[in-house]
Symmetry: C2
């Protein structure tokens, strides 16, 4: 794109958006990165639309000049799906933050995609509904970003992921069309499931501008427990038995001994530095009591060395805050570090094997690495705090991540459970899905023939 064309495009966008169009270098820098070590190129400019119509016009302008478009939520991703591309326009959805409709009776909400999950839940509480939106990836991410990356998180084992909790979306496609997929009906067999095609497409097929979400009744009762084990194997066996028991488990998280040590230090807690499960139960008072008792028994049967309840809400919140902060706790093991994170998921029968082979690989490296994950689903994350700008460390971390992915794939798993492909796992996607990636590419080419929607992401 020559300077003249660039000036023309920027003038058009400035006319459309006024001060909500920015070429300021700080603004551009903020929108070049996400929460990980991935560093993208500076986008040429950042647009802050407020309406579907504005997004449509932005896309039409960019299409005319063949300018790449990068949708940007809260920048809390960790695989580089939203990082900058040379010559691109970043479209921040942060000012599309209106909650458009709540229906208590239908238990659904329609929101603009810049609304964050905490914003929605706070609103649901303030207006006195007994409902919540349960998908909880830890970060206070935008719901549009969560849809675009098929976000999951700690409560997915019980409440499902964005895949399960999204009823429909409004999306602006590569020619600027505004499309409505799905709808407010709870179920539909009307044609192809475009909603779930766009969910997880990481902005490569269009810009998600609005979302219709399921809302869930708040549980009558909640209890949480922390349970330490002598080995990861004992912890995972406990998880398998818990899942088989059919009891209602809302969250079940594993943290390894080093991660627990990091969490104790960072969040000022005094748990054992041992492989540990964080558990939470939701339901009626009786169900929660019953589930808790079953869990306590199963944990004991599997050699649990410490089992502590946190029924008090304050204590529970502190506990889960510590779990959410565990990424920062891991980084704190090396002050000044940035995080290299990888996440895989395997059939749960293979989880012990996968973790144990991963530990062997990590043992051969001098890098520090912690492990944690949504083990009820067979997932775990490895966090490697790296010194910023150290190319050797980054290369080593990449090799370690590749090896972990290889192990997971051999054990029947996936290269990423919830972080997505972005720019970090493009080769892994090919390894995992082979010819199916050609089908994905065919769809991408059909829906975005000029490759302007977040190019360079997902596909090699």
């Amino acid at each position: 794109m020559n300077d003249y064309a660039k000036r023309k495009l920027h003038n058009e966008l400035r006319l459309l958006l006024g001060t909500r169009f920015s070429t300021d270098s700080t603004v551009r820098e903020t929108h070049a990165t996400d929460a990980s070590y991935h560093q993208g190129a500076l986008p040429n400019a950042v647009a802050f639309p407020k309406t579907n119509g504005e997004v449509s016009k932005i896309v039409k302008c960019c299409a005319r000049y063949s300018v790449p478009i990068i949708p940007y939520g809260t920048g809390t991703g960790v695989e580089g799906a939203a990082v900058g591309t040379e010559g691109a326009l970043c479209v921040s959805l942060s000012q599309m933050n209106n909650i458009l409709r709540i229906s208590s009776e239908d238990r659904d909400a329609t929101v603009q995609s810049g609304v964050t999950r905490n914003q929605l839940n706070t609103h649901l509480n303030e207006i006195g509904t007994q409902l919540h939106f349960p998908v909880d990836p830890g970060a206070d991410a935008s719901l549009g970003g969560m849809a675009a990356t098929r976000a999951s998180g700690t409560s997915a084992i019980y409440y499902g992921t964005m895949l399960d909790n999204t009823l429909g979306i409004t999306v602006v496609t590569s020619d600027g069309s505004i499309i409505q997929t799905g709808g407010r009906a709870r179920k539909s067999a009307a044609g192809y499931d475009l909603t779930r095609l766009f969910i997880g497409s990481e902005g490569t097929l269009g810009i998600i501008t609005e979302i219709i979400l399921k809302l869930i009744p708040l549980p009558e009762a909640v209890s949480a427990a922390v349970s330490a084990f002598p080995t990861v194997e004992a912890a995972v066996n406990t998880v398998i038995k818990l899942m088989e028991s059919g009891i209602n488990i809302a969250r079940i998280e594993l943290l390894d001994e080093l991660q627990m040590d990091a969490v104790n230090n960072y969040s000022n807690l005094d748990y054992q530095a041992a492989p540990t499960l964080f558990l939470e139960f939701h339901g009626s008072t009786n169900t929660v009591k019953e589930s808790s008792e079953v869990a306590d028994r199963i944990a004991s049967d599997n050699g649990c060395i410490d089992f502590r309840w946190a029924t008090d809400e304050k204590e529970r919140k502190r506990l889960w805050q510590a779990r959410y902060d565990s990424y920062y706790a891991a980084l704190n093991l090396r002050p000044g570090s940035v995080g290299y994170v990888t996440d895989v998921c395997v059939p749960i029968s293979q989880l012990t094997e996968c973790i144990s082979r991963t530990k062997s690989i990590l043992a051969k490296s001098d890098l520090i690495a912690t492990m944690l994950g949504h083990v009820g689903d067979g997932n775990f994350h490895v966090v490697l705090p790296l010194m910023s700008g150290n190319g050797d460390e980054l290369n080593e971390a990449r090799q370690i991540s590749d090896q972990i992915v290889d192990i997971a794939l051999k054990l029947g798993g996936t290269c990423t459970e919830e972080h997505g492909i972005g720019i970090g796992k493009k080769a892994a996607l090919e390894k995992e899905h082979g010819k199916a990636v050609d089908i994905m590419r065919t769809i991408k080419l059909a829906l975005d023939p000029n490759n302007i929607m977040n190019p360079g992401k997902i596909f090699i």
Copy 2:
């Protein structure tokens, strides 16, 4: 296709499949229709492959001769998705009926797509797992057919639909490639969600040959109840309150007074001929007891005129068999009739309005019509028993169905909750999804450029 080409194709297929390739007229007739009034053209031949490789070869042969392919499961669909097309080859999946793998620990199963849901559940019971596959559309449909039509049914309110319970599929695409989507990991963010793109695509994007399914622990306890109300409104209000209460409801079905009358006659039961809810609760003994008590109270508060428990397994089975037979019970109101069925789904707050407007339309017609549905999701079906070959009746039924769809769409609903588009609801799909149908068409064209995969279905 000229006769010479046809003979050549048939020779190739006979060479490949031997007696599992048939041009017998009775076989072709059986594969021209589904369980509804929709009547397709006779396919030229029917193939019965046993392996992915054979399906791939069949598709490659047909692609070479540009012969349309119609995948066929158990023929239990009701919107004509599997009915015959002029000059087509019908590919019956009935001999791809092997259960390939069961993992109790991972709670998943891999099956060929001709395995029926009862076959799978019987097997799970026989080998002593405490697991079941819960999606239950009533008919003993093939699991591949259920995936291809995004089947749902009575238990979807609690266990989800095929969308929620399928982890991955093997599909043969229009060029004969064998593609694996998804996998055995419980969750994945690896690229586009092809699994859910193929689910509900009604054979228009490829032939589903294998499926990886989630299995669910059998509930410790089950109880069922039948609850009669003075009005449909009172029944629906009960449903809304039950859903808000957050209790575990495994099934919640509404049958109107005429449908109840038909069921009483057909299944020799003695319930009141009043708007009636069939309820079922799954969970631990305590949870089920608790849920049942809450349901009983909520029903009473909403003017229930008769509430009967069916805790005994035999009684429960009889009750649900009567529910499943309600389609035939409705047809029995006019002996010798065929069924015209339509199903819509609206946000539950609009269900009373939708049913009441539908009743007004039906009242103006001389046709008999019953109503029943999965009301917990806001769905209902209308069954119109028509005299076979009576064009006037068929036209009138079509007009009624169109009007019901219009009402549902105006109330924020969908033109079909679970029956799909097939050939019966192509115009309704356009009305509902407008420009989004263009996106569906673009995908169809990209993945099946010669339009050989079940052509004439879904799209006008």
